[in-house]
């Protein structure tokens, strides 16, 4: 009996030691303030869209670096904001893009001022693909043609999704027309639609003269022969020249970077007054619950700094036609607040 007791004690203590060392290991893996399962909600419901794609790239790397279980959930803007509101522990994070503050500027229901209500986290990447297109057989060859036509009293209809990224280029164009041809800006008419397929359909139906689209979704349409009802042509990419210059040389699909550069400033000029050109880069960034532990903000900033320093993520992002653009939280918050102020002016000008 004595032997077996001793044996039991030994086995017991060995098991305890093993358990302790295992739990120490687990604790070491999750010794940061961020722990448990992390859900990253995004402001889009689409798993085929750029927000999901970019978030997946970043979250995969982050999960590996922090040794945490992290998952991207495409729940859509209003659900994402509400989910983020509910969780201050840091187990719910959000990734979204400029829509988050543009929605507020346009007065869309469900969008609050992100700078007041949330903590703005680091920026991650730019999608340089925001574009405007016309049918291939359109009489308008360039954006200047469109501005001139509207200036001459012609009605030009632009299909957009109201209240955000899709509308900001339209607003800037309207603002530019108001500056160059005062009083004529109302000839530029917004056709409110939803998804990309709806916008394309408006063009096919002849219900819109110009549509908002993206390089990614519309590039193949620009390579169709002119007699195809579906054929389109880019007239404007809203991204900065700098941004497109960072894209891979081969561009996207069979449209090279060189060709894409033809549709950005200074080749295409949309004035904001004072010789300044309007540009818009769609940027992705983190949003956090305001009451979340600041140590978590710091932890994610540090992890991302390390990830971006290694350089692998940049390659993945560029291959997916994203332009890497990491800025830690403080810098990002200030930068985005400035960006918002710029666009606030345009939107209030044309109201």
């Amino acid at each position: 009996m004595r032997i077996s007791n001793r044996l039991m004690t030994r086995v017991g203590s060995a098991a305890l030691m093993a358990a302790l060392s295992v739990s120490a290991g687990v604790a070491m893996a999750q010794d940061g303030p961020l722990r448990g399962n992390i859900r990253v909600v995004i402001g889009s419901t689409s798993t085929g869209g750029d927000t999901y794609q970019n978030s997946t790239i970043v979250v995969d790397q982050l999960a590996e670096r922090l040794d945490l279980n992290m998952k991207v959930d495409a729940v859509g803007a209003s659900s994402a904001f509400r989910t983020l509101d509910r969780d201050s522990r840091g187990n719910t994070l959000m990734i979204f893009h400029d829509q988050s503050y543009l929605g507020h500027l346009y007065g869309v229901e469900g969008y609050d001022d992100i700078f007041e209500k949330y903590t703005v986290g680091p920026t991650l990447a730019i999608n340089p693909g925001n574009a405007y297109l016309v049918p291939k057989d359109s009489p308008y060859q360039t954006l200047d043609d469109i501005i001139a036509a509207v200036g001459n009293g012609e009605t030009v209809r632009v299909a957009i999704q109201p209240g955000g990224v899709s509308e900001i280029g339209f607003s800037a164009l309207k603002n530019a027309i108001a500056i160059e041809h005062p009083g004529q800006e109302d000839n530029l008419v917004a056709v409110n639609t939803g998804s990309q397929s709806d916008k394309n359909q408006q063009l096919f139906d002849g219900q819109a003269d110009v549509i908002n689209g993206t390089v990614q979704a519309n590039e193949q349409y620009t390579r169709l022969p002119e007699d195809d009802q579906k054929a389109m042509r880019f007239v404007w990419l809203t991204a900065r020249q700098d941004t497109i210059e960072q894209a891979p040389e081969e561009g996207l699909g069979q449209t090279s970077r060189e060709q894409l550069l033809e549709y950005v400033e200074p080749n295409v000029h949309v004035t904001m007054g004072d010789d300044e050109s309007f540009t818009f880069d769609k940027e992705f960034f983190f949003l956090y619950n305001k009451d979340m532990d600041p140590a978590i903000v710091e932890q994610i900033d540090e992890a991302l700094t390390d990830i971006y320093a290694e350089g692998e993520i940049q390659e993945t992002q560029k291959n997916a036609f994203f332009i890497p653009n990491f800025k830690p939280s403080d810098e990002a918050s200030e930068y985005l607040a400035d960006k918002m102020a710029r666009y606030e002016e345009i939107i209030s000008n044309i109201k």
């Binding site: 209240g163 939803g194 579906k230």
Partner: protein, 520 residues
Amino acid sequence: MEFLSLLDITFFLLAGFGALVGIIFGAIPGMTATMAVAVCLPLTYALGLHHGLALLLGLYVGGISGGMVPAVLLNIPGTPSSITTTFDGYPMAQKGEGEKALKICVIASVVGGLISAAILFLFAPLLADFSIKFSYVEKFLIILLALSVIASLSSSMLIGIFSGVIGIWLSLIGDYSISDGGNGKTRLMFDFMEPYLFEGFSLLPVLIGVFGISTILLEAEKGAKSGLVNERIKISKGGGFSLSIFNGRLTNLVRSSFIGTFVGMLPGVGGSAASVLAYTQEKNLTRDSSQMGKGAPQGLIASESANNALTGGALIPLLSLGIPGDSTTAVLIGAFTLQGIQVGPLFIPENTETWYVMMTALVFANIVMFFLMFYAIKYIAKVVMVPKHILFPIIVMMCVVGAYAINYGIMFDVWTLLIFGILGYLVQKIGLEVAPLIIGFILGSQAEVYFVKSLESFGTFSIFFTKSPIAMVLWGLIVASVMFAIVMGFKSRARQKMELTQVTGSTRTASGKGHETDND
């Protein structure tokens, strides 16, 4: 034939495994094909594009097919597109013909799936060009045509239409979404409801509530005395299954498959419309539709062949326009973007290998689905043999889990389940009809969006009649469908009257003979 080198054992195993998991997802109320594909989407990173596609297409085909199981056996549509399967499937299961009903469904499904795959393979770019001729106006009319089934579906047309209108009204609660080009403002609710109802009631919890929970409540009211769901019924009763059921129904099978493919290829019209439309057309065009809704195989054939034909149809705009045809293909598109492959009008000519690989996976998944289900049905159908007091709590639990999971963990969806369970129960108690109500709910919000958008785009009501020859044809079909329902309504009323007079007559005679017929 270079693509053959891409097909290895793993490829086929993944497609088959996908079909199996998909069937399980589809069979659990609340879990859908879309969810199955979304959950497995990140796996495409590890698997590579072609293996990933094999898995996802397997899940897609399996998920759509699996919905028939709870629809037939438990009166709960496992997926929204199997709602019309409940109309005839459940009555058949109640008559003890569950196994037969499921076998009919499986055959209809595989035929629908394969016909649509063939159409996809042969005509994808051509059909994509045709599909863009459907603008808001035509899409509205398609939905209106599907809604016209309400008139012929109900036993009393007036009550049916009233129920349908309530369904539409319920579907309009919530915001007119910005992503549909609306203003994002909420309506039909008080301010305090906004946090819960901003996006309206979710479709699936409503569906499971109205069908599943209310059925259970009705059963609970009767008490659990009888023990089994269908105590006295042997499952294989009804003479078993033979292929001869399909005799004379080939037209229905092929027509419904075409309707499914066609609705699938119209982006934004959605899966549920496919089976509803096929069901309507069968009801209108068949010689004898009197048994439909009471357990007629032809209803199952229409519903299941159409909803599986959706798979090929929804891939048409995805692969030839870059636009997903339904919610599942909208997730599927993620597999391409994650791999950095553009889908658009040039996808097929520029990615022929991937295109052939996809077709192989689609056809193979359909075949695997067929064998898995056809031979497993014998065992699956035994579900109805489980005693009620064990079966019902399990169903309720699955419904709750499914409702909670559908939007990734929204508790209000569980309350929706309960609200609509009770509503479904009350609706049946006061004599309204559930099927028109739910069809109104499913199609109402889409009808609204396309109606408003048509008016916004064209600015006049007359456009609904004059937009295009397609619109005129659709009006013809709508009018025919409604007229048919009215004529059928009169006929059945006349028949009932005649039967009634005969019955009263014979009762009188019988009572005169001194209760001799009492033992009948």
